[in-house]
Symmetry: C2
Subunit: 249 residues, 2 copies
DNA sequence: TTCCCACGAACCATATACGATTTGAGATAC
DNA sequence: GTATCTCAAATCGTATATGGTTCGTGGGAA
């Protein structure tokens, strides 16, 4: 289908044979949402997508139903689907929930993680530290995801792991990551990563690892909230806030 | 269509207007699974269900896709769907995950819960204690669910709450609850409930409430594992286990 | 008797078709 | 000029139809 000539039936059968069209549509949409090729709020019209993928609308509908169940798209009866947009409230909820499940997954991974993985996580974090000076939010976010993935992917509980993946997928819908919004958070983040690594390497209590991982995420969430409050204040009126102003112009 | 003459459009619109057939099928299947009218492993044939509900297979497919995404049914390409059966491994994973999210939801509820709800939870637990002597696993399980629902429903995080609901739904698929398998667990459970209530009433640190709620669930899980190990041992060979045998014949 | 193959029934996957609903634009009245 | 009504285009929801796949069953050969 990407070839465009439409005569690749043999290849298609061999290639897509294992994958149903419904699955194909699901993967297609999921990828495009994750890659931000479909922005939040984008209207998902069944027929258009079906045309793009050279299939009928039926498999597309099913794919969208699955995406809906995962919270990646919102759906309205007789109106249609659109890519879920994460308002700040949704963002906070998602980050809070992710903190819980990712923390737990990381804690459960702590004892199972291999030395090689731990080494790899350390390298990724070194990389993160290295790019702090010429800061690129997008690259930083990608590396950050890698770092955490290494730490929680060893979690033996598939259910929990799946929740973590869904949480990340939902948050990836954001127009920009938190690090684009609050660049200053990046440096703290790297330091907290190092702390988590120390805990795991030192064979700390899994619960301690879990809480560290959770607080790490919640700190990012809090940084976002603080930044938002700051901007709102500055935008609404040019009056300094009463307490604990930590302006860094 | 149920009328058969096809002229009932006004009634139909008014009655089913708020609910799509897809949604209807979803609710129908979900309820029947929850009520154990459809046992785990039961084969879900599209056409049969469509006939029962007087609709075509298309909405049924969508409903099943959603149930699949929630882990209530398993699906196999070109073969079909069946009600998810929770083997002991799946059970352990589900309980572990539920412990995490339910614990977190309960912790987040702790500060938000009303005095009335707290009172109600206490009453339900008293009820649980009262039925300990003429023990009925089914009734106990239902009350137990009530108790925990009161404690976590005040959680302000909808995402987390949804995960908790899904976890309970998945586990409700079990042929019998843990309490049917390990009746002795019931008494401990009631005592732990009281402890959790004390923590919340005393305004304890939410994290402490969370860990108590989590450990409560994990203790139930552990009781199940212990019981299973016991039976396996006794079945395999009539040799007493080396340590900490706490037989109650 | 046992193994293998062929055939057929049951069922899934997808395409097409059509009625129903929403939505926005243009016309008309005030 | 604004508000409201009407109508048509776009899109969704569901039914029906058809081609494929799986799985069980029965017959034949070793």
């Amino acid at each position: 289908m990407t070839g465009g000539d439409g005569t690749a039936s043999a290849v298609e059968t061999a290639l897509a044979g294992a994958l149903s069209k419904s699955q194909l549509a699901y993967d297609y949409l999921r990828d495009r949402i994750a890659l931000h090729e479909l922005s939040p709020g984008y209207r998902l019209v069944l027929q258009s997508i079906a045309d793009e993928l050279a299939m009928s609308v039926v498999p597309v509908r099913e794919a969208i139903r699955r995406l809906e169940a995962e919270g990646l798209v919102t759906y309205e009866r007789n109106v249609g689907a659109r890519v879920a947009m994460v308002d700040e409230h949704g963002y906070v909820d998602a980050m809070q929930a992710l903190g819980v499940v990712e923390g737990a997954a990381t804690g459960l991974s702590a004892r199972a993680i291999s030395a090689a993985d731990l080494q790899r996580a350390t390298e990724v974090n070194d990389h993160l530290r290295a790019v702090l000076d010429h800061f690129d939010p997008h690259a930083f976010t990608a590396l950050n995801r890698q770092f955490h993935s290494v730490l929680f992917e060893s979690c033996p509980n598939k259910l929990l792991l799946d929740m973590v993946h869904r949480g990340w997928a939902q948050l990836s819908g954001l127009r920009d990551s938190t690090f684009a919004f609050v660049p200053g958070r990046a440096r703290d983040s790297v330091a907290e990563h190092a702390h988590i690594l120390d805990l795991i390497a030192g064979g700390a209590d899994p619960l301690e690892v879990e809480i560290a991982a959770r607080n790490h995420r919640w700190a990012t969430m809090q940084a976002f909230l603080d930044a938002r409050a700051d901007r709102a204040d500055k935008a609404d009126r040019a009056v300094p806030r009463p307490t604990s102003l930590r302006e860094t112009p």
